[in-house]
């Protein structure tokens, strides 16, 4: 079937098999390999992207159903080469070791900041619990989110 997808503001016209997940289409057809395939069953969060501004799992999303929606991946987060405050904070706070879960953590974290569920460390941990990190970089990830939250708040004042 024919479908027109919009990813990071750019339009793509594709012939899709209805079985193709958004994750596979991003990685294998559009060369957007920043979004990672961890479990491919909705359990790890590595494939997190935004659809119409809400964080979702691209492994459980059929690509053909994304017609008319705005998809944002990790490749669409930096603006003109300038990192998002959370991307910068992840580097500064060692929010990663191997880095495989990192794009998913950042996409979930950016949504979390917009949802307003980052008021305490406990709240951050609860609302980030859908993103697993097998290296155990959780403390750095939580610190990075706190840092980005404070920086974005100060910038907004």
């Amino acid at each position: 079937m024919n479908a027109r997808l919009t990813v990071n503001g750019r339009g793509y016209t594709l012939v899709l098999d209805p079985r193709e997940s958004l994750l596979d289409v991003l990685r294998e057809r559009l060369d957007l390999s920043g979004t990672k395939k961890g479990c491919d069953q909705g359990a790890c969060g590595a494939c997190t992207v935004h659809i119409d501004g809400r964080r979702v799992l691209s492994c459980l999303t059929l690509a053909a159903r994304c017609e008319g929606k705005q998809v944002t991946t990790i490749e669409g987060i930096a603006r003109d080469g300038v990192l998002h405050p959370l991307q910068r904070a992840m580097v500064e706070h060692d929010g990663l070791q191997c880095g495989f879960c990192t794009p998913g953590q950042i996409m979930a974290g950016i949504a979390l900041l917009e949802e307003g569920h980052a008021t305490t460390r406990e709240e951050i941990r609860e609302w980030m619990s859908g993103n697993l990190c097998r290296c155990g970089a959780y403390n750095g990830i939580v610190e990075a989110i706190e840092r980005a939250r404070d920086e974005m708040r100060d910038a907004a004042v």
């Binding site: 209805p18 491919d40 069953q41 459980l60 999303t61 619990s129």
Partner: protein, 327 residues
Amino acid sequence: MQPFELVTPVGITEAVELGRAVDAVYLAGGTNVVDFLRTGAMRASTLVDIDRLPLRGIDFDGQRLRIGALTRMSELAAEPAVRDRYKFIAESLELSASAQLRNMASIGGNLLQRTRCLYFRERNFKCNKRTPGSGCAARDGENRRHAILGGSEACVATHASDLAVALVAADAEVHLHGPSGEWTSLLETFYLEPESTPEIETRIGRGDLIVAVSVPPVPGGERSVYLKLRERASYEFALVSVAASVDLDGALIREARIALGGVATRPWRARETEARLQGVALDDSGVLREAAASAFVDARPLRDNGFKVELGTRAIVAAVRQAGGGA
């Protein structure tokens, strides 16, 4: 994944027409269906994409709550009327899955989600629910997570939904459209025990589509509690869960509603416990404990899950105290 056709009906009537076909499955949020089609635990030749049907939204008229079946879990959890008057419903949602899954999964789909029994999921094992007549690998296998109530020789898989437990406690009704018209069922009796046909989990018939859930007022709903006990702090299914509301008359319980998750083959209303709690003082620990224990008189623990009797009893006591405003 087996090939399937993806069709998009424009209205409910057309959806039901397409959905009544053999091997057709409705697709809403997709979190359950896409996963199970991939693992082979489910099959479908046609997926009927209902996501753009006008079944999304929440209406509270001051008395009754009506939830469109395509409302997302995150949307229902954030609804002020739900947080204020049906606290256990909001809590059951926010203690489920992850923020990403809650943004995707629909309320109708949540109620129809399949069990998380690992033997159901893995095609290499016997499972009467997946392949009727093949046997049950859980009865003599790893059954720590399985049911102690409502099981049968054929199946001891637990029902996975937290939301359904809170809704059963709230006397919610489910509204459907089907090939023979519209119908409504109390959610509690919508779910069936497995008996000899565990592949049949609800009263839903071929082509029936959940369009809404409605919830009457819950006395004490503003203090109601969803207590969920699990092996991780978050993002995990329940070992034992309790939805409890308590309506007080001074220091005495006028009416309590108790439903259990994680322990039974369907969302489990603990009616005997509710009856025994009537007129009891909230600080009467002995009577509270006896009432809670009565929920498990008919329990049939398996090799690995006998702990659920004591854990469940204590969880009910704790949830009732909390819902009554005590510690």
